[in-house]
Symmetry: C7
Subunit: 236 residues, 7 copies
Amino acid sequence: MQHQVMGYDRAATMFSPDGRLLQVEYAEKTVRLGSASIGFVCSDGVLIVADKRIIDSLLVPESSIKIYEIDSHVMGTSAGILSDARVLMERAQLLAQQNRVTYDSEVDVETIIKEIANAKQAFTQYGGARPYGVEVMIAGINPDNSGKLFVSDVTGNYLGYRATAIGENDEKIKEELRKEYKQNLNTDHGIKIAFNIFKKVFGKEFDISRFEVAIIKAEDQKMRRYFGDALLKLLK
Amino acid sequence: MQHQVMGYDRAATMFSPDGRLLQVEYAEKTVRLGSASIGFVCSDGVLIVADKRIIDSLLVPESSIKIYEIDSHVMGTSAGILSDARVLMERAQLLAQQNRVTYDSEVDVETIIKEIANAKQAFTQYGGARPYGVEVMIAGINPDNSGKLFVSDVTGNYLGYRATAIGENDEKIKEELRKEYKQNLNTDHGIKIAFNIFKKVFGKEFDISRFEVAIIKAEDQKMRRYFGDALLKLLK
Amino acid sequence: MQHQVMGYDRAATMFSPDGRLLQVEYAEKTVRLGSASIGFVCSDGVLIVADKRIIDSLLVPESSIKIYEIDSHVMGTSAGILSDARVLMERAQLLAQQNRVTYDSEVDVETIIKEIANAKQAFTQYGGARPYGVEVMIAGINPDNSGKLFVSDVTGNYLGYRATAIGENDEKIKEELRKEYKQNLNTDHGIKIAFNIFKKVFGKEFDISRFEVAIIKAEDQKMRRYFGDALLKLLK
Amino acid sequence: MQHQVMGYDRAATMFSPDGRLLQVEYAEKTVRLGSASIGFVCSDGVLIVADKRIIDSLLVPESSIKIYEIDSHVMGTSAGILSDARVLMERAQLLAQQNRVTYDSEVDVETIIKEIANAKQAFTQYGGARPYGVEVMIAGINPDNSGKLFVSDVTGNYLGYRATAIGENDEKIKEELRKEYKQNLNTDHGIKIAFNIFKKVFGKEFDISRFEVAIIKAEDQKMRRYFGDALLKLLK
Amino acid sequence: MQHQVMGYDRAATMFSPDGRLLQVEYAEKTVRLGSASIGFVCSDGVLIVADKRIIDSLLVPESSIKIYEIDSHVMGTSAGILSDARVLMERAQLLAQQNRVTYDSEVDVETIIKEIANAKQAFTQYGGARPYGVEVMIAGINPDNSGKLFVSDVTGNYLGYRATAIGENDEKIKEELRKEYKQNLNTDHGIKIAFNIFKKVFGKEFDISRFEVAIIKAEDQKMRRYFGDALLKLLK
Amino acid sequence: MQHQVMGYDRAATMFSPDGRLLQVEYAEKTVRLGSASIGFVCSDGVLIVADKRIIDSLLVPESSIKIYEIDSHVMGTSAGILSDARVLMERAQLLAQQNRVTYDSEVDVETIIKEIANAKQAFTQYGGARPYGVEVMIAGINPDNSGKLFVSDVTGNYLGYRATAIGENDEKIKEELRKEYKQNLNTDHGIKIAFNIFKKVFGKEFDISRFEVAIIKAEDQKMRRYFGDALLKLLK
Amino acid sequence: MQHQVMGYDRAATMFSPDGRLLQVEYAEKTVRLGSASIGFVCSDGVLIVADKRIIDSLLVPESSIKIYEIDSHVMGTSAGILSDARVLMERAQLLAQQNRVTYDSEVDVETIIKEIANAKQAFTQYGGARPYGVEVMIAGINPDNSGKLFVSDVTGNYLGYRATAIGENDEKIKEELRKEYKQNLNTDHGIKIAFNIFKKVFGKEFDISRFEVAIIKAEDQKMRRYFGDALLKLLK
């Protein structure tokens, strides 16, 4: 609180006397307010289950997606400021495209998260702009057919996961994941685990129509997206 | 209120301790003060009904339009700062033109809203400028003949709708739309619903001469605009 | 008043908590202090009657004009900061010239007002400069021989008029115009109406030597300017 | 005074709540403190009489001039910050030279004052610099042999005059000029009038050695400068 | 404390009255909060033992490394802001690559630390950005087969070491190193010393699964990395 | 004093309400604290006598000069911030060199002072830098063999002199110069007058070893510098 | 103290009302806190004796030098912020190299100090950065075989010396130097004098292992560096 009175939290480029970057910490609060997503690396591919949070009969579901296709073999989702996320996802799409044109091959999944993370780091160091208020989860299949899952936080750091969650209640969800995740589960199993956790966390407010699921299988490296009726069918 | 005393609301690029961007929220207030518009995706095309709010016999109606033609198959309207809207609409017109020149084909409707939304996102993140104080509604017919309707908010996020409203009383209008909208209604029907809602919302202050209607039909992908006598004739 | 204490009115790029741009509103005050002009679209051409306000025998009337020739078929006047107006008028002159060189044809009147309005919008959004403190009236004959009259306000919005006024007492003058203007009056009649209104508004302080009149007729698209003896002769 | 406490006068690019630009008004105070000059358009040429104010036996009169030769047919003087004036005069000299090189003809006198006035306007609108603290008087003979006299104020506005004054006591001097100036007086007569007015205004403090006179005659378009003994000889 | 009230600690580019750069000192606090690493120059190569601090069964160990390969013969680790470190490491990787392309030879180890240190110095001197909040340790084998170990602090100064530590408890660890380090110990011995020290410093909280070890031997100049089971096997 | 409380003296680009530039006035104080120099235009050349103020047996006199050779026919000295002076002198040296290369002739002395004065003016008008804290005296022989002496103040204004002084006690010294200077004195005589005045002003503190004398004679246009023993010999 | 309350010491580009640059004065305090160095011009070459202050058995002495080789005939040392010094030294190294490439000859010693001093001056005048917090001593042999010694202070001024000191206790050391220095002493003698002075100044805390000595002899113009055992051997 004293840091606020002294003004150490007014610029993204100012350290507080205890060595913290308060504007970056505030941006992290935005992330915690975002709706949650769960990601998995499975034996047969990668998987994201995302809570879109909005249910509005006026919306066109196909035009209100939460999980972005970055390239046919890589996808991403986010928690935090949605427009920040879209801008980063479009940057990733461009990189993936350039990789195809320049090297005639699919981009490595880590290259994508590094691009996003570097953009974020820069905005926590240079003045004249605010940090990106968004945590990004990237999942994909590498050219060697291995599944990869990365999450980059607000500071521009990133880590590789077997399974993880972002957004509201992320710690609670990860607690459950540590119990449920097994190394060789397949995507069908992963989806079940994810929804069981979401049901537990949301309780009565759980509503299947809020969710979007996307899967990239190693065998064909195509992103498949499920919501609404298609999702209900998948879950059976 | 305390955020104001502490100054967290003075720069568009500053997060408040609870992770909010207050300058962006203030810009949203400007939008709520703007006059309302309703948009529809209909079975035979797309439709916008816009309240121009100004009635002045000195004005030339043809020169004081509220709905912009972006290309023959795409149109847009706005709520908020009118000059901000015009600048964004001209940017969209340029993109549509460039698309015709470069690819010899009509631009996709989502490409237009993405261009506008990206410009908005940038102005909420980079310093030295204010966010665009305008919500933008874009409606059009895609090359595959499907009708599309998008709205981008002040932050630069956008969503796709079947029917929606922007500007003053937007929540009240959307409440009505959820009741009235049916999937396969045609543009004639859509116009009727829109004016019924406007009459309900405005009550005694409803005045047909304040309104402008624009339709793009899928069959010929030409924007047709109606106001004054032409609008009265259309409504019969 | 509280907005002033809180400092929301110190930068052109800051929204107040109620979504207003106060520096832009202050710039509008400058405009209301400027001397008035009346513009008309007439059956045979367009017309501006401008109050120059200064009467000084040391001035060379030809070198102290209030109405600018932008191109032979377009002219403009202003209310507010005179040097801001000149800079915008020179920008318009350049555009008109470039249009002749590039397309070998006369520029459309709306293109001129759009250029001026866009410059104004930018200065209300980008930091490091102040908004233009000037309202601009543009009148001209389009290539299709139709007369056009536009006014752009301080924010960079513009509207098309049949007849209108800018500067001090603009609301009072427009009130009169709404009563007097008839669709097919010619320029001779327009001048009479304008001076009747100015006499009414100024009362005893009315002085014909303060005024400048400019007419562009559709038949020859040449700007003709009248002041001093020539104006007296015209009025007879 | 309250504007000062509220800080509306700290930046050249800030409007006060009543629509004024206070930094520009402060710059005008600097101008009023500068030494005075009188300019004339005469039947046989143009004429400037300038008070240099400094009398120091250590100075080299030829190296301490107040009236600048911009080109052989145009000259200028100023009131306010002397170094600002020199920079603007050198800018004008460059423009005149470029005109000769590019068009192989003498520059029009109004083009010179417009160049200076535009530079001034820009510095009242863009941040990061202060307004020019100088009023500039330009006198010259146009290619059509007509004499021209312009004054641009601190804001970058300019007007054409038959005769006028700048600097301290400018209003008092102009009052006298309105009485004395006659349309067809020649330069000899003009010099007499100017010195009569200066004697009246300065009273006992009048000292011929403080003054500098420059004349450009229409017949040969050469600037002639008089001070010290040459001036005394001229006045006889 | 008074420096804080007076505001000398708000900008990286401001000296306090006693000649200190307080923002840089605050950045150093961040470094002291980072997890520790120990580096050695040994008779047969160079060695880094790094505490990753994170133990999470959801993480993929291969994707969550603390020691970066800069080139096959150079590696680096850090304490402080992890995203800052990654950006500096990528800069070093690029330099190493360019050196291979341009000179067809391996980059000198000191060239790497100099590149990193210069980037840091610049960010303590130029405004508009914050200093890098990271201390960097670089270890490698020079083309002449000699092992090198450098540490650059937050200000951009760097020094060469035989053995050293960065991050939390660095002083305590260095105290131990001074006792244990002998000039000609080999990498096997070095690893033992490092873990003995870490055990001493961490006490009960020591957990081998938190650590990562990397070795570059002079004989083949390849970086080898050990963690998890491989590390346990190495330690036997 | 009130100006200080109100903050009108914090930026070089801010006018005070009475039209002053306070940062520029403060820079002038620095100049008054600088050591004094006297310059002369004599019948046979130009002359500067400069007080170096420092007497330190560790210094190499040849490497601690106060009077700069700009070109063989032009020299300069200064009062105020010594490093500012050196930068301006090097700028002048470059200009002189360029003039030789471009036009194959010696640069005019006024061109040198104008270059320096323009640099100074810019730094009193543009933000983001401070004014040069230095007054500069330039003396030289023009291609037509005439001697010239100029002084530019902190604002960037400059004047031509027969004889003058800068730095501490400049007014007192100029008072003496007005009495002693005669139009056709030669350099020998000038040196005597200068030292007589310095003795009078310094009183007991006068010390010949603090001084440096430089002369450029019209006959050979070579700068000759005297200090220490050479100066003592010259004075006999 | 009042200057601090009034804020005149917050920006490097602000003059205080008494014409001082306080940020520059604060930077000088940093210099006084740096460890000391003594430099000599001797009959047979130039000489620097530098206190490195750090004694740490973990350091590699060869990689922790205080005296930089700029070119084989020029060297430099510093007091103040070490990373600032390194950056300036690298700039000097580049200049020396460029001189060899461009002119195929060794750079003059004064050219090196001028380059460093100009960089420093710029950072005391332009905003957006802090002054370099470092005093630099440069010693070398000129192409004409003469030895040169220069010191540039924080403002960017520089002077030539026969012998001098920088860093802590510099005044005390210079006092001693004035007594001990004789014009024709050789480097052996110089080293003795330097260490005698250091012993006197440090008293009990004198420790030969803290020091580094570097010599460039005129005969071969090669820099030789001595520390540790080599230094002990040299001193015998």
